[in-house]
Symmetry: C2
Subunit: 224 residues, 2 copies
Amino acid sequence: MAVSRRRQVASDIGLSKQRVVVEAVRLADREGVDGLSMRRLAGELGAGAMSLYHYVANKEELLDAMIDVVFAEIELPPEDTDWQSAMRRRAVSARQVLARHPWAISLMESRTSPGPAHLRHREAVTACLRRAGFSVLMATHANWLLDVYVYGFALQAASLPFDTAGEFADMAEDVFLPQLPPEEFPYLNESAAALVAAGYDPAEEFFFGLDLVLAALEPLRGSA
Amino acid sequence: MAVSRRRQVASDIGLSKQRVVVEAVRLADREGVDGLSMRRLAGELGAGAMSLYHYVANKEELLDAMIDVVFAEIELPPEDTDWQSAMRRRAVSARQVLARHPWAISLMESRTSPGPAHLRHREAVTACLRRAGFSVLMATHANWLLDVYVYGFALQAASLPFDTAGEFADMAEDVFLPQLPPEEFPYLNESAAALVAAGYDPAEEFFFGLDLVLAALEPLRGSA
DNA sequence: ACAGATTCCGTACACCGTACGAGCCCCGCT
DNA sequence: AGCGGGGCTCGTACGGTGTACGGAATCTGT
């Protein structure tokens, strides 16, 4: 009884902002953002709910920190290739990260302050574009467009109930087509049927738009 | 005391799903989606909280219905012009609608079933593209890309603390530039300064990407 | 006039974020 | 050695949430 044992629970070395935020991300991955409550998170860390507030001012700050963890996971554009390959790699990485943390997309809308990892990322992307010969204005346009594409795609993809060609085919035949009578929705009906027949793979969709956007930006290098 | 007066409060003719959903949209516009609670909404309608559950199975269904109200506000692509003008009009309309109902963007991620107005809208867009000569596959690509652009832009714009050129200049000078020391963020610092000097207007950004995407899609008409 | 359906809502329960303040432990000072 | 203070932990409590349940009031058809 004389032994000093401050932490007796599952947690190993005591809390820290880092540990709190990382566990919050893990919990959100597992249960969705709705399943993330301060009490639940504290339980996961083997602590009392109010203990968390020593490391985070409030839940908003926790969510901000979680978003920045997500940004830190996105690969920075490599410096040793042409700008298109670099932007392509970072877009693909961002897509993977957002697929791993789907809750992040719904949080982006509400968080307005960038966070350090977010800023470092923007700096690297802007550097890549400027070095490739884009003007300040064109680099801004390109930055916007690429971000819009990546986040917009993730947003759209998150609200779809299929990810693979097989899942799409199943959903289309069992759910969509019955809901799309040809009299009311001739074109959607035609599309759904034709896409299933052609073995349409929604996972490929990302690259179509990405490559189209990259190609369309190329001629703008060097222009004002 | 013998007079029959069932509804004595501000509400005029009694409840209905329509009235509940419309008032919910109004409340969300006014107070944000966090300010929308069943009790609050009921109060706004001059009713008890539990009365709402006669018209809506649960809050999720209410949110679904609200999203569909938003979709119904988006202009359908006009049929009497070329496809680019039609798509441009509907994109601009969607942007306006989403700016009017910013809460809608954060809801889209979580709602997975389309809703009638959403379906009607997709049918009209697909019809426009197919009639313009896009194949089923290309129309699907174009549909995705345009939606990704519109929703992605709205998502991005919602998380920025400025809308106009003046607000951007103020924020950049008072907030961004002090946070972007030139040693750590040379390119972002340069960009912020140059954009302010050039009178950069973020409201114009929408059209750059939109027109670029439309132009890049044009040559794909008629291809497989 | 009465029966049944429709509409409304008061109460209650489990959960949420978090303000407040009491306890605990460790450290440095006298 | 004793003590005071500061960092950390957390129990309790308050006002909010979504909604299950059951009762009451009204409307409708006979």
